[in-house]
Symmetry: C2
Subunit: 187 residues, 2 copies
């Protein structure tokens, strides 16, 4: 089973080190991990295709080729997951692939959003939480936006959330390994 390794891990100082760690965990469970930068032909530096589009096309090709995705949904610069990863989760769901997701933050979306908004969040006359622009806060007791939790649910996939020390948010792979185990068991 080929597993696309989606996540903001590509923004780490050493993305190739993380790729090696994730691939080793996959291999230990009989899975083949595909990290976004894998088999990345060097961009020629010339021609009509800018680097960002080269990367986009490579990621799409990786996803179409994979059987499953493990998405790192740890909150990224806000209450929700990295948008590139979320795009990829929706993409893989539409293709009918197996999905698994994890977050190194156990708290649900509502408490995280309230923490991020601070005094800008308040209850309206009906008791619904709203931000300073009047936009409602999702309040379903889920891990992230309902499209994320819903896609994982409908695909029969796990969404594993656990707290880790703040400094290990981007390096702790226990929840990632639990996803790999779940995919291996579902094979």
């Amino acid at each position: 089973m080929k597993v696309y390794l989606a996540g903001p891990d590509v923004f780490l100082p050493d993305p190739l080190g993380m790729a090696a760690r994730k691939r080793a965990i996959c291999a230990a469970h009989g899975l083949t991990g595909i990290f976004p930068v894998d088999n990345h032909p060097a961009h020629p530096g010339t021609g009509d295709t800018p680097l960002w589009l080269h990367i986009y096309r490579r990621n799409e090709a990786h996803m179409r080729d994979a059987d499953a995705v493990i998405a790192n949904l740890t909150p990224f610069r806000g209450p929700s997951a990295d948008p590139g990863t979320v795009y990829e989760l929706g993409f893989m769901r539409a293709l009918g692939k197996r999905l698994a997701g994890y977050s190194n933050a156990a708290a649900g979306l509502l408490p995280r959003t309230r923490a991020a908004l601070g005094d800008a969040a308040s209850r309206d006359a009906e008791g619904r939480w709203r931000d300073a622009e009047g936009m409602a806060l999702e309040d379903f007791g889920l891990g992230d936006n309902l499209m994320i939790d819903g896609g994982l649910h409908e695909a029969g996939g796990v969404f594993i959330r656990r707290d880790v020390p703040e400094a290990e948010r981007w390096t702790d792979l226990a929840a990632f390994e639990a996803c790999a185990k779940a995919l291996a068991a579902a094979r």
Copy 2:
């Protein structure tokens, strides 16, 4: 052409009013707008399906039935678009549908992320912007994460970004109408 109207508009104080406005603009350009809450059978309040899952399944069905999507990618509680909308954009791209996106913020992702991070963003030894956790900032001169811009590009879709007065960020539909025009012209 049936067009799914994705966006955090569902969180507005009057989502049905926005649905009516967007549908009217679509109709003026020969398109049929489908707002997420359309044809929403009332949740029975009993049974095994929680409301959030009922909503997820309805949104998936709307997307599979639609020919295109217009995604409101205006930054939502952070430097990037609403994650539910981004999931839906990836989903529609994988299904090979027509895509269009708009943002009522003209600035690109890098300046928006730097503004959100403030002093927490700094250049590393190679001159690359990183946040306080060492995670790199995307710097491709795009409107949002490259998966978003890339998906729109690969589908031949527009990504229309324009500034509007802050108070009209969630109500100004000029960029939305430009997307409707682009889809109608591509028909």
